[in-house]
C-alpha cells in the first residue's frame, strides 16, 4: 500500500478550477520534488492535502495510508502524520513556541494512544531536536513565529517537523528565504529525518535545494496538472531551460 495516492484530483477556489486532474503516488521512503511556474497550483495541492477550508474538491480521490483523506478533518490528518511546512508560516502572538509544540505533540500522542509528555521530558526532547536544525534555543521561548525573520520562520517549520516526526511531510518552498548556510543546515536536517517509513514532498523553485535533498522523482506542475516527471536530472534541465518547453505527456502518471 502506498502512503499517498492521488487520483484525478480536481479542486477549485471561489469557483475557479486550480487543480485539474492531479495524479501522484508517493511510497514510504521516497522523496518527491514538485517544481513549476508561479500560480501553477503547487501550494493549492499542499493546502488541499492538509485540509485548508478555502478549497473545494470537485473530483478525484486521495488515499492516505489507504483511507479516504477527505473523510478526515485537518487536525486528524495532522495527528495521522501529515505535516505541512507552510510557505508563509503564521504568527501566533503571545503563544510560546515550545508550549505550542508541546500541545501539538501531545495532541498527536493522545491520538496515537501514547501517554502525554510532561514538561521535563518534553524539554529534553526539544533540546535534542533543536540541534537538528541548529536553531538557537532562544527561539523556543519566543511567541510562535512572531517577529521571526523570513528565514527563521522557515527553519522553525522544520524544527516543528523534527519534533512531530510526521509520516508525510509537505515542504512548501521551505528553501525560499533561507541564506546559503541555513539552506545547507535545514536540508541536512531534513535528510536526518528521512527514513524508510516516512516520505517527503518538496515544493521548490530551485534545483539548488535538490543538491542537498536528493529526490527520487521530480514532477513539473503546470496549470494544475503534473505534466512531466523524471529523475533528479529533470531539475537540472528545468533550471537550464525553464518551463516553456515542457508539454504534457499523454496519460502521465507516476
Amino acid at each position: 500500500m502506498s502512503l499517498l495516492e492521488i487520483k484525478n484530483l480536481h479542486a477549485s477556489v471561489n469557483g475557479n478550477e486550480i487543480l485539474r486532474g492531479i495524479n501522484l503516488t508517493v511510497n514510504a521512503g521516497e522523496v518527491h520534488a514538485i517544481m513549476g511556474p508561479n500560480g501553477s497550483g503547487k501550494s493549492t495541492l499542499a493546502g488541499v492535502l492538509a485540509g485548508r477550508e478555502a478549497y473545494t474538491v470537485t473530483d478525484g480521490q486521495v488515499l492516505y495510508k489507504g483511507n479516504n483523506l477527505f473523510d478526515m478533518v485537518p487536525e486528524e490528518r495532522a495527528r495521522e502524520g501529515l505535516f505541512l511546512a507552510f510557505q508563509y508560516p503564521v504568527e501566533i502572538p503571545g503563544v510560546n513556541n515550545s508550549y505550542f509544540l508541546k500541545e501539538s505533540l501531545n495532541a498527536i500522542r493522545k491520538h496515537k494512544g501514547l501517554e502525554q509528555l510532561d514538561a521535563i521530558d518534553f524539554l529534553a526532547l526539544i533540546k535534542q531536536k533543536v540541534k537538528i536544525v541548529e536553531m538557537d534555543e532562544s527561539f523556543l521561548n519566543r511567541p510562535v513565529n512572531e517577529g521571526f525573520s523570513g528565514g527563521e520562520k522557515k527553519r522553525n517549520e522544520i524544527f516543528h517537523m523534527a519534533v512531530l516526526e510526521p509520516m508525510l511531510s509537505i515542504l512548501d518552498e521551505t528553501d525560499s528565504g533561507l541564506d546559503i548556510d541555513a539552506l545547507r543546515i535545514v536540508s541536512e536536517g531534513v535528510n536526518k529525518l528521512r527514513s524508510k517509513e516516512n516520505a517527503t514532498i518538496i515544493v521548490t523553485h530551485y534545483q539548488r535545494l535538490l543538491n542537498y535533498i536528493i529526490p527520487d522523482v521530480v514532477h513539473v506542475m503546470k496549470d494544475g496538472r503534473l505534466v512531466k516527471s523524471g529523475g533528479k536530472e529533470l531539475a537540472l534541465e528545468l533550471e537550464d531551460r525553464g518551463y516553456d518547453w515542457v508539454h504534457e505527456e499523454a496519460g502521465q502518471t507516476v
Binding site: 492538509a50 485540509g51 485548508r52 477550508e53 473523510d71 478526515m72 478533518v73 485537518p74 487536525e75 486528524e76 495532522a78 495527528r79 505535516f83 505541512l84 507552510f86 508560516p89 503564521v90 504568527e91 501566533i92 502572538p93 503571545g94 503563544v95 505550542f100 509544540l101 500541545e103 501539538s104 505533540l105 495532541a107 498527536i108 491520538h111 511567541p143 516543528h160 512531530l164
Partner: protein, 481 residues
Amino acid sequence: MNNETNTIEEFAAQEYKYGFVTDIEADSAPPGLNEDIIRLISSKKQEPVWLLEWRLKAFQHWQTMEEPHWQNIKYPPIDYQAIVYYSAPKQKPQLKDLSQVDPELLKTYDKLGIPLREQEWLAGVAVDAVFDSVSVATTFKEKLKELGIIFGSFSDAVHEHPDLVKKYLGSVVPANDNYFAALNSAVFSDGSFCFIPKGVRCPMELSTYFRINASSTGQFERTLIVAEEGAQVSYLEGCTAPMRDKNQLHAAVVELVALDNAKIKYSTVQNWYPGDKEGRGGIYNFVTKRGKCAGVNSKISWTQVETGSAITWKYPSVLLIGDSSVGEFYSVAVVNNYQQADTGTKMIHIGKNTKSTIVSKGISAGHGQNSYRGLVEMKKGAVNARNYSQCDSLLLGDKCGAHTFPYIEVKNTSAKAEHEATTSKIGDDQIFYCKQRGLSAEDAVNLIVNGFCKEVFRELPMEFAVEAQKLLGVSLEGSVG
C-alpha cells in the same frame, strides 16, 4: 471523525457547567425595599445602632438618585421592589469547624471543584465562604489571628472590631457615591473584612468564594480590606453561580485602604451565570470597587478575569493620594453570546510621583459587546505623575463588538499619560495553522486567546491563573467552528 464531532457536541452541550441549585432552606425577607426591610436586615444581624443609621441614611440618598444609563449596555428596567433583600441559610450561628457546616453546602462546594477541606489542608488558603449572603465557614482564622490579621465575615467584624469597621467603612466608597453603591450601603448583607496590621505580611493568599443561591435574591456584598503601614496582602475573589431563569442583580462594594508602604493585590475571577445562548437570565453585575493609596509608596493592584454575567458594569479604581504611590489594573473581559461588558478603571493621581499602569484585554465572541471605559486623571498636585495604558481587543467572528472609551484629564504639565490600543481578529489562517499541528479548533482558540491574555494572567497567583485559563476555554466554547 466521529470522535471529533462528539467532542464538539459535548462541548456545545456543556454550556454553563456550574448550573445547579443547592437545596438548603432559606430564611428570607419578603420582596421589596423600604425602611422596615433595612431595619429587619440590621436586627437579624444584631447590628449596632450607628450601622443601622448609616444604612438608613444611604437608603434615603438612594431614593433621591436615578439609575445610571450612560453605560454602553442594554437591559430591561429592574424592579427593585421585586427583589428579596435578605436571605440566610438556616444554620447555627457559630461554626468552629467544617463538621458543623450543612453537608448540603459542602456538597455544593464539591461540585464546584473547590472542596473546602482540600483548600484548607493542601493549598494553604484561608477561605471565607460566602453562601447566600451569610458566611458559613471560616478557616485558618486562628493562624492569622496570631499575626494580628483579622480575616472573616463582615458581620463578625462589626461585632468584634466595631471601631475598625466604623473608621474605614465608606471611607473609600461613600454611601452616596453612586446609585448601586448607595443601594448596597443600605442593604448589604455580608461580605469579607480583612485587616493587616502594621508591618505584617500576610503569609497566604486570602480568598473568598461567592455564590448566589436562593431564587431572586439580590446579592449585596460588602468587602473592606485595610493594610496598615508596611503591611502586605494578596486577596483572591472567585465565584460561580447556579443556573436560573430570572435576572439577578449583584451590586457589591469593595473598598481597599493602603497606608504608608502598604501593598494590596486584589485578584478576581468572575464567573456569574451569563444567561443562556439567547441571552436570557444571567446575572447583572454592577459593582463598585475602589482602592485608596492613602500612604506614601503604597500600592494597590487590581487583576480581574471577567467571563461571566449577562451584564458586567465595573471600574475597579485607585485613588493615588500618597506620594509615589502606585496603582495597577490588569483586566481580561470575555463576552460571548449576548453578554455585555462595560468595564475599565479609574486612576486618580493626586500625590506627587504617582504611577499607574492599565492593561486591558477585551475578548468578544458571538453577539457579545465589550466596552473598555477608563479614566486617567492627573490632578494639579500630581507632579511627575505617570500613566501607561494599553487596551487590546480581540474579536472572534463578525457579530460581536469591541469599544474603547479612554478619558484622559491632565491638569499638571509635568504629568504624562500614554495610551495604546489595538484591535485584532483571530484569523482563519491562525486556526488552520494550529489544526495543521494537530490541535482542535477549540484548543486553537484557547491557545490564541490565552496568548492574547498573557500579560494579565501572569499577574494572577499561580493556581488562579490555571483556573482562569480553563474558565476562558469554557466561556468561549462553540464560538469558532
